[in-house]
């Protein structure tokens, strides 16, 4: 049902926006903290390797970004390009999954190993 789908997507968009607001603050604060005295790959990996907390944080960040971005692109496609309907739904869903996979791959790369 379109009405329920729209209401659910709206809720997901607002919910992920709240999560992203918190994630971005932590992310920016970490950047400012991390670049004191220079920034090296080794320093970053030292912080993230094997860290369950950073792994969980960036996983949440990635998933929220993917959901939020895909829903936003759906609206942009509909309003600016007139791209609506099943093809648009499939396309933005694919983009959402692609962002999730790519993002989680990056999380695994900095946390794992």
């Amino acid at each position: 049902m379109s009405a329920r789908r729209e209401a659910t997507l709206w809720l997901a968009q607002r919910g992920t926006a709240m999560i992203l607001a918190a994630c971005v603050v932590v992310h920016l604060a970490t950047i400012i903290f991390a670049v004191r005295g220079g920034l090296t790959a080794a320093e970053i990996l030292e912080r993230t390797r094997g860290s369950v907390a950073w792994g969980a944080f960036y996983s949440v960040f990635v998933i929220a970004s993917a959901v939020h971005g895909a829903i936003g692109l759906r609206t942009v496609a509909a309003e600016w390009l007139g791209f609506r309907g099943d093809a648009a739904e499939v396309t933005v869903t694919f983009i959402g999954f692609a962002l999730t996979v790519l993002g989680l791959r990056a999380v695994v790369a900095v946390v794992g190993g």
Binding site: M1, S2, A3, R4, E6, A7, T8, E79
Partner: protein, 256 residues
């Protein structure tokens, strides 16, 4: 008479700061057409509707425009004035004139019938599509429902209920321009007044009607409607209320 300004018929043109004539360009035609220029004598306390009426009565009787009450009640005289949708009967020329120029066109986002007359059918069809009709559940044999005017629901409905259907919000809405199916601020505002009406029995189907791609979830909260509503209403607030109400329904209902 002290400092009270006097305007006799003869001294109007000499008032300081008041240029003697207005240069008015008016849309002529329908979807295809062009702006036609008129020179209209400037008057104190002149409204944009006065200007249009002067043109029609003195300069070109074929000019088409729409008005009825002239006092901001009927909602029929809205036009695009120097690029902004306004009710013309209560818009003073002083407030909107730019370097002595006025540019008048029909409302945006609606088909043009002729000159300054927009076809309001899509606008009001959307009120119907948003289920803007009251659906009662009582018969005439039953007693009246007592509604406390201080109750939260009634106060929320009252805050949105003074709409005169002028179409200024609809003509100013970016989302209507992007998505012609979008129900628009006025229809959604009307639906919200009924959602907050405790007597109404058509809530679930109304909330389904106002959700969706063409409904409240498409609102970007640009607030042009709220900024320009001549009655000082906030359709944006009403639409936000509909988003919350539809969300609650979506989370609660099994199948609509």
């Amino acid at each position: 008479m002290g400092n009270v300004p006097e305007f006799s018929r003869n001294d109007r043109r000499e008032k300081p700061g008041l240029s003697p004539v207005l240069m008015v360009s008016v849309w002529r035609g329908a979807a295809e057409g062009a702006f036609q220029s008129f020179e209209v004598p400037r008057q104190p306390s002149q409204t944009v509707l006065d200007v249009v009426t002067y043109i029609q009565r003195n300069l070109d009787a074929t000019l088409s425009y729409r008005f009825a009450c002239r006092v901001g009640m009927c909602g029929s005289c809205a036009m695009t004035v120097n690029g902004t949708a306004r009710w013309t009967c209560r818009t003073h020329v002083d407030k909107v004139v730019v370097d002595g120029d006025l540019r008048l066109g029909p409302l945006e986002n609606l088909p043009v019938v002729k000159d300054l007359v927009a076809d309001m059918r899509p606008f009001f069809d959307k009120w119907a599509a948003a289920q803007g009709q009251f659906k009662g559940a009582k018969t005439r044999q039953e007693d009246f429902t007592r509604v406390d005017p201080r109750s939260t629901a009634r106060r929320e409905a009252d805050a949105a209920i003074e709409c005169i259907g002028c179409g200024v919000c609809y003509a100013s809405c970016d989302v209507v321009a992007w998505n012609p199916e979008y129900l628009g601020p006025a229809a959604l505002n009307r639906a919200w007044t009924l959602v907050k009406d405790v007597r109404d029995a058509g809530q679930a189907s109304r909330l389904v009607a106002v959700a969706g791609d063409a409904g409240c979830h498409s609102c970007h909260t640009h607030m042009s409607c709220t900024e320009l509503c001549p009655k000082g209403l906030s359709p944006t607030r009403s639409i936000a209320g509909l988003k919350r109400a539809t969300m609650k329904l979506a989370l609660s209902m099994e199948e609509p």
